[in-house]
């Protein structure tokens, strides 16, 4: 993490699209009128979904919508590193660099990014790709992880990662999820424990007497 500043080149203005304005109003209605400021993070997130990043004119627009001083919105936008303060590529790659991913090869993935895209936050010439290193994405079991447009790509190797970059550059969609076909966070190559089939067919079951259960009443003699 480093000092975060607004980008030097800023667009002329910002306006919500009709659809996003509807969403913005939906957020605003969640809060009482005098607590509109509560919607600042959802609105900034909406801005980022719309434009890919949070520009200075957008900060002004949000401040006006919420009746907040601009500096208060600016504080929020600079506080949260998930708000991008400069333009990013169409596909923004967030490479997790925290310890588990680092131990499982995140540094190699970063090297791929540097080679194929450039420095962090530099947008590739065609405007398609940009990347940054982020803190823990919370998918340590499937390390190393890269989030591409907020979808997780897991168990990457430099080769599989680069294949995805190639696909993105060709304009193809990439399938999120594990690159090695792992199911969710299950162990790599299938389960390694609790594999005995006998565990599941009931053959190991031992009759037990549960304490404090009502004792079976003696059956009345059949008439």
């Amino acid at each position: 993490m480093s000092v975060r500043r607004l980008a030097l080149n800023q667009p002329e203005g910002f306006a919500f699209s009709p659809a996003s304005l509807e969403t913005a109003n939906w957020w605003l209605q969640k809060y009482p009128a005098d607590r509109r400021q509560s919607a600042v993070i959802p609105l900034l997130w909406l801005v980022q979904k719309l434009e890919g990043w949070v520009s200075e004119p957008a900060i002004r627009v949000v401040a006006e919508m919420l009746g907040m001083p601009r500096i208060r919105v600016y504080e929020v936008a600079t506080f949260y590193t998930m708000f991008h303060l400069q333009p990013v590529g169409r596909h923004h790659l967030q490479v997790c660099g925290t310890t588990p991913c680092m131990l499982r090869g995140a540094n190699d993935l970063k090297a791929v990014c540097r080679r194929r895209i450039g420095a962090p936050f530099a947008v590739s010439a065609d405007g398609l790709l940009s990347w940054e290193e982020v803190e823990c994405l919370g998918a340590c079991a499937n390390a190393p992880v890269v989030a591409i447009r907020d979808l997780y790509h897991e168990d990457l190797t430099p080769q599989t990662f680069e294949a995805r970059i190639d696909a993105l550059l060709r304009g193809e969609d990439v399938q999120p999820g594990s690159a090695i076909g792992r199911q969710k966070s299950a162990p790599e190559g299938g389960p390694a424990t609790l594999v005995d089939p006998a565990l599941y067919d009931g053959s190991l079951a031992v009759p037990v007497t549960l304490p404090n259960r009502p004792q079976p009443q003696p059956q009345p003699a059949e008439a």
Binding site: V3, R4, M68, P69
Partner: protein
């Protein structure tokens, strides 16, 4: 009241006290950086850690209340230790963390010698640092012409951010980024638009925000401190003037809870460089249309010649910065000369004569804290009296309703705009305005009448309307001891002049009439006590004698210029807008050959053959107090009801109200008097404000 044991001493404190306040009540000293009595509690510096018995860790005493403490097992009062080894170690730890990134640049830091961090590092600092890493480096921010920033030194206490947001009411400062990268900045590094921003420099516990005009000027221990009174507005803020070798270097606020608390406006603080520029340091006389230097003897003889043969055909006007002593001497001299033409209201104020309560801020400045409905008439307190405006803002935050009749302006709080002209007053009287119900329902209503309503052609009628409003809504006298009729003056001299009776005698001319009479030739000489704000007689018409401190408009027109002492150079009485009599003290000597104003009048009186009966300042005071007992109660605000038999509805005179908007006479906050106009800093501020006009603050 709740009992609590601090360092073994049991004390009884209100339950809403914080632990820090309770410890202070018990006499323990708690170090702190972020905590400030007049700001909200942030609790982020952690320096005020104390040990609370039963708590697992030291607690930040500024952020915990006494009532939340757990009693002992048998119901004993909670126990707090402020001097235990645990506390000492904890504070040493905090100090070490603070010093990781704070530069060791005290020798080149302006805060050196009066720095909280420096002082507390003496008490809690370790001998060396255990951190080998580089210190963080932060870019300095631009905040306008008054605040110099050295952001490496910032310890993120956020006192400045809280002051700007809460007291000044301009939410322009903020903390960007997070953690180690947190930085204090204005939005896109714009200049601050507050008239109170100098106070942030005082609040800053380190040298991150320092005074730009005062940068590298002096060390605090080189300065001679004089506790005195400010004259830049009519509040009479209590200030401390720091001077070195006869040169006033800076002005700081003094705590006076009933006037300025501990704030002062930027003009009060930063106009002092005007005391060094454009000063009149020797007498001048006009010969063949040009001013040339003269000796005191020559200038006084010429002045006496101009005044002597005229009998009653001379006049005197006292300006905005005239002290009571100089006006008293002038009044005595002109009475002796037989001239009724004296006026201490160059702006044409309609008040004067009658009971004193008709021109005072009767509820007192501190009375604003008690008011629950406040009507502003023809005033923009933000530029007329910024410190008072901060108090109005606090009243608004507390729930008071504020409405205004006059030109709309951003006052840093929400104001119900009732209209621009006096018609709104008539509508209020007739009950056509919704706001009338607010005045009716208020427990302590207040009407603040500004000069914007009192110096117009229709001011007598406006004043009558205000008086009727006071009578109609019981603004004075609804509650015993409450008088909500408040006049906000803009000039430090005005109330003193009115108290002194420095107004035209029977058949006398007022200021505007005197100027007209000079032009017409029916008045042959005009005595000006620092009058620079009005149109003066055309050159060549009669003799204009100017007694003042600066080469401003008055001196440029004058035929005889007599140099006088500024407010920092004499012990003199000023009466503030609430009728509080206060005295300035001499911090430096008058420039060059300049003399105290009253002594100039006294010397002239001798040459005129009407020797005034006082030879010293003490004798003048004796005479003043004998003639006007009102000046005897020093540092006391009367806060009185109207005298018996006075009908507030009879104020002013009947007449028709003009439809022109009520506009404050203060056009540029930074340039209202000769001292401020001579100040380079004030000129910079005015230019900066013109370049970026005040945006409406979003609340």
């Amino acid at each position: 009241m709740t009992k609590i044991i601090v360092d073994g001493t049991e004390i009884d404190v209100p339950p809403e006290y914080t632990l820090l306040q309770a410890c202070e009540a018990a006499g323990a000293e708690i170090p702190r950086f972020c905590y400030h009595e007049r700001l909200s509690i942030a609790g982020n510096c952690r320096m005020c850690l104390v040990e609370v018995k039963g708590a697992p860790k030291p607690v930040a005493s500024c952020a915990q209340q006494v009532r939340d403490q757990r009693p002992g097992p048998n119901g004993e009062p909670p126990v707090v230790n402020t001097r235990s080894p645990l506390v000492r170690r904890a504070r040493e730890g905090v100090m070490e963390f603070l010093l990781i990134n704070h530069p060791l640049d005290c020798p080149v830091c302006d805060q050196g010698g009066e720095c909280d961090l420096q002082d507390q590092a003496i008490g809690y600092g370790r001998a060396g640092s255990r951190f080998d890493e580089n210190k963080r480096a932060v870019e300095d921010k631009f905040m306008g012409p008054l605040i110099k920033t050295v952001m490496n030194r910032c310890i993120q206490c956020t006192r400045c951010v809280r002051f700007a947001t809460e007291i000044a009411g301009v939410p322009e400062l903020g903390a960007s980024g997070r953690g180690e990268d947190m930085e204090i900045t204005t939005y896109l590094e714009g200049a601050l638009t507050s008239e109170l921003q100098g106070n942030m420099v005082d609040l800053c516990p380190v040298g991150a925000l320092t005074s730009k005009p005062y940068a590298f000027n002096a060390r605090p221990w080189e300065l001679r401190r004089t506790e005195t009174i400010d004259v830049m507005d009519a509040l009479g803020s209590n200030i401390r003037v720091d001077a070195r070798q006869g040169e006033v270097l800076r002005v700081l606020p003094r705590v006076q809870e009933e006037i300025n608390e501990e704030w002062i406006s930027d003009k009060t603080r930063h106009a002092v460089d005007g005391l060094r520029r454009q000063r009149l340091d020797r007498p001048y006389v006009r010969v063949d249309g040009r001013l040339r230097e003269a000796s005191w003897g020559e200038a006084l003889s010429m002045a006496a010649d101009a005044l002597r043969p005229c009998g009653g055909a001379v006049g005197a006007i006292a300006g905005d910065l005239a002290c009571v002593e100089s006006m008293k001497a002038t009044l005595d001299l002109f009475t002796a000369l037989g001239s009724p033409n004296v006026d201490g209201r160059p702006d044409g104020l309609v008040l004067g004569g009658g009971p004193r309560e008709s021109w005072l801020f009767n509820a007192g400045i501190a009375g604003i804290d008690e008011a629950d409905a406040i009507l502003l008439v023809g005033t923009n307190p933000r530029i007329e009296a910024p410190v008072l405006n901060a108090r109005l803002r606090r009243a608004w935050l507390r729930g008071a309703e504020i409405a205004s009749v006059g030109a709309a302006a951003d006052l840093t709080y929400r104001v119900t705009q009732l209209g621009e002209d006096g018609g709104a007053l008539e509508r209020l009287l007739a009950g056509e305005e919704d706001w009338a119900t607010r005045l009716e329902g208020a427990r302590r209503p207040m009407v603040i009448v500004g000069q914007g309503a009192l110096i117009r052609p229709d001011s007598a009628a406006l004043l009558r309307a205000v008086g009727q409003l006071c009578a109609r809504f019981g603004i004075s006298g609804r509650e015993a001891g409450w008088n909500g009729y408040c006049v906000l003056h803009t000039a430090a001299a005005r109330v003193g002049a009115l108290d002194l009776g420095f107004v035209p005698g029977p058949g006398g001319l007022d200021a505007a009439a005197m100027v007209r009479a000079m032009d017409a030739g029916s008045l042959s000489a005009l005595w000006l006590l620092g009058v620079d704000e009005i149109d003066l007689p055309a050159p060549g018409r009669g003799t204009v004698i100017y007694v003042g401190t600066h080469g401003d408009r008055g001196a440029h027109r004058a035929d005889i210029v007599l140099p006088a002492a500024a407010y920092t150079e004499k012990a003199a009485i000023f009466v503030n807008t609430e009728g509080r009599v206060q005295m300035t003290q001499r911090a430096a000597f008058p420039k060059g050959a300049a003399r105290e104003d009253w002594a100039i009048v006294r010397a002239l009186s001798e040459r005129l053959g009407h020797r005034l009966p006082y030879d010293s300042h003490a004798q003048l005071h004796q005479r003043l107090l004998a003639d006007h007992p009102v000046f005897a109660s020093l540092d006391h605000a009367p806060r009185r009801d109207f005298p018996a038999g006075f009908d507030v509805a009879s104020l002013g005179a009947a007449g028709t109200l003009s439809s022109a908007a009520l506009v404050s006479p203060v056009r540029d906050f930074y340039l209202t008097n000769p001292i401020a106009r001579a100040s380079v800093v004030m000129a910079e501020c005015a230019a900066s404000r013109r370049a970026a006009p005040v945006l409406m603050a979003a609340e």
